[in-house]
């Protein structure tokens, strides 16, 4: 076959240019579609921006989590109740003991943060329910979450960014943020009324976000859960200091296993299942779903929990997420933080590479 330009007359040059233009346009179309998918054509909030902001606020500490950087590794098992089995087909509710890796922590990006100043405490768990039945979660001691939407949490992080000179937060900025966000009232009320306990062991940890349990018959139920300590509450003492939580917990575990009851709270029709700033009425029915037993604890930099992403969307079959917009954001942001710190961790493991 002859090359086309030999077959076309003088007018062919224009149409040849036209055809090249057509090729360029048809190739640019999928390129643009990809650029749009990747968010390159818009200013939408990305997980990377979140983690960058966390680094702005808490500093960048190689190998550590970008939030909840200070903590310790714990392990033990979960023993479900028969009542839990009636609500979900998840393997973690099958009779017996399911091994658990966990992490107790305080918020903030500073791995040497002050325990006595921590606004709340957190517990990450990974429960082994068998293949396709691993259950991960990250719980907080607050009664509700501070905001309902990821973009508002990002704005809060921006408002919390410390002044580069004084190292302090700008109280005016924070006040302005809370004035603009009335949904933060429930969290702030909890904060003002709550006296922290004197230990990780007698703290309560709440899912905050809602999830959906599916039973054998396919019936779906919206619910939230809490780990309620079986250790008695004692208020945090004024002279506990900045560094007591980990040592206290290790001392307690060395004496005896620490236990929590997994309590499910079932939503009624009309309860806000997609809004973590709103608690459900206390009279909603609860179900005792089993017992978490923690019988070992150790420093996080050598423990199994260091390299686990406690992503709340790693769920067993039989549990699925609600439409709460915070869940997808938490999953996306944790994943980016995980990639950053694991990359740093790998460098620390092979310093000469």
């Amino acid at each position: 076959m002859k090359h086309p330009h030999t077959r076309h007359n003088a007018a062919g040059l224009r149409s040849r240019t036209g055809r090249f233009t057509l090729i360029a346009l048809l190739t640019a179309l999928p390129a643009l579609l990809f650029a749009w998918s990747a968010g390159w054509l818009s200013s939408r909030l990305s997980p990377q921006q979140f983690v960058d902001q966390l680094e702005q606020n808490g500093g960048r500490h190689a190998g550590f989590r970008r939030n909840h950087a200070k903590g310790l590794c714990v392990s033990g098992y979960f023993e479900p109740s028969a009542d839990a089995r009636r609500l979900s087909t998840a393997g973690v509710f099958a009779a017996g003991r399911h091994s658990v890796n966990g992490r107790l922590s305080i918020p903030g990006g500073n791995p040497y943060g002050a325990d006595d100043k921590a606004p709340l405490r957190s517990l990450g768990l990974q429960i082994d329910g068998g293949s396709a039945h691993e259950w991960r979660m990250a719980l907080n001691s607050s009664a509700v979450f501070v905001v309902a939407r990821p973009e508002d949490f990002y704005a809060l992080l921006q408002a919390q960014q410390p002044d580069p000179v004084s190292g302090r937060r700008d109280k005016e900025k924070l006040r302005a943020f809370f004035n603009r966000h009335p949904e933060t009232a429930a969290f702030r009320q909890w904060q003002s009324q709550h006296t922290p306990s004197d230990s990780f062991a007698n703290s309560r940890y709440n899912s905050l976000n809602s999830f959906v349990f599916t039973d054998n018959a396919g019936t779906e139920r919206y619910l939230r859960w809490s780990l309620i300590p079986q250790q008695a509450y004692q208020p945090q003492a004024a002279d506990n200091g900045a560094d007591f939580l980990a040592a206290d917990f290790r001392r307690r575990v060395a004496q005896q296993p620490q236990r929590w009851t997994l309590q499910l709270q079932l939503a009624a029709d009309g309860d806000p299942v997609n809004d973590a700033t709103r608690a459900w009425p206390a009279e909603r029915p609860t179900v005792n779903a089993g017992t978490l037993v923690i019988n070992a604890a150790g420093p996080q930099q050598q423990g199994a929990c260091r390299d686990i992403n406690f992503d709340p969307l790693i769920l067993p079959a039989g549990i699925r997420p609600s439409g709460d917009p915070l869940l997808a954001a938490r999953s996306a942001v944790y994943s980016d933080s995980f990639t950053r710190r694991i990359t740093e961790q790998a460098t620390q493991e092979h310093p000469h590479d």
Binding site: M1, H3, P4, R16, R19, F20, L22, I23, A24, L26, T27, P30, A31, L33, F34, S37, A38, G39, R44, L45, S46, P47, Q48, F50, S131, A132, E134, P150, D307, I308, N309, D311, L313, I314, A317, P321, G323, P325, L327, A328, A329, S331, A332, V333, S335, D336, F338, T339, I342, T343, Q345, A346, T347, E349, H350
Partner: protein, 178 residues
């Protein structure tokens, strides 16, 4: 000389064109968004990746077992070489990318759930070193595949609109004719 690819190759080509391009967009979207779409896109990315891996292996087998239409003999030598190399790279990436994705999840300690009760076993042990290599590799190989696909599309259109040599037709529907 057959002037069409085997019908199964042509079917797989267009099916995978949609699947692979969608997959690249899904991957780019899910890692750059904190919106609700992040979770369902991630849920779609993993089974779709495994489907592409299976289709790519099937396609490779069919391709090796069938006769392919040759390139036009008057095509410049350099273009012929580029065409052959790009096809080898396209096949390689369609197979390697899902495997690197699978290995990335394994190294990161993530369960790879295809759907419901179906979980794939890890390809390798949990490892920070491997995760730190594989996670960026997955990203850069995906960019490479995207660029190759765009070049492949431009070349196909070049054959159809400029050279008018029947190369694009060989991947379109139609009966084999002499």
């Amino acid at each position: 000389m057959t002037d069409h690819f085997h019908w199964l190759i042509r079917t797989l080509h267009w099916l995978m064109a949609i699947a692979v391009f969608a997959m690249l967009c899904i991957g780019a979207a899910m890692v750059s968004s904190v919106a609700g779409s992040h979770s369902w896109l991630t849920g779609l990315h993993r089974p779709l990746g495994m489907l592409i891996l299976l289709l790519a292996l099937l396609r490779l087998a069919v391709r090796l077992m069938t006769r392919q239409p040759g390139l036009p003999p008057d095509m410049p030598r350099l273009q012929q070489r580029a065409a052959q190399a790009s096809h080898i790279l396209l096949y390689s990436l369609m197979i390697v990318l899902p495997l690197v994705g699978w290995a990335t999840l394994s190294a990161g300690g993530y369960p790879l759930i295809l759907a419901g009760e179906v979980q794939l076993p890890p390809l390798l042990e949990k490892s920070n070193t491997l995760y730190a290599l594989l996670r960026p590799a997955h990203r850069w190989l995906a960019y490479a595949l995207l660029l190759l696909i765009l070049a492949h599309l431009a070349a196909a259109l070049f054959h159809a609109l400029i050279r008018q040599d029947g190369v694009l037709q060989s991947m379109l529907p139609g009966r084999a004719k002499k």
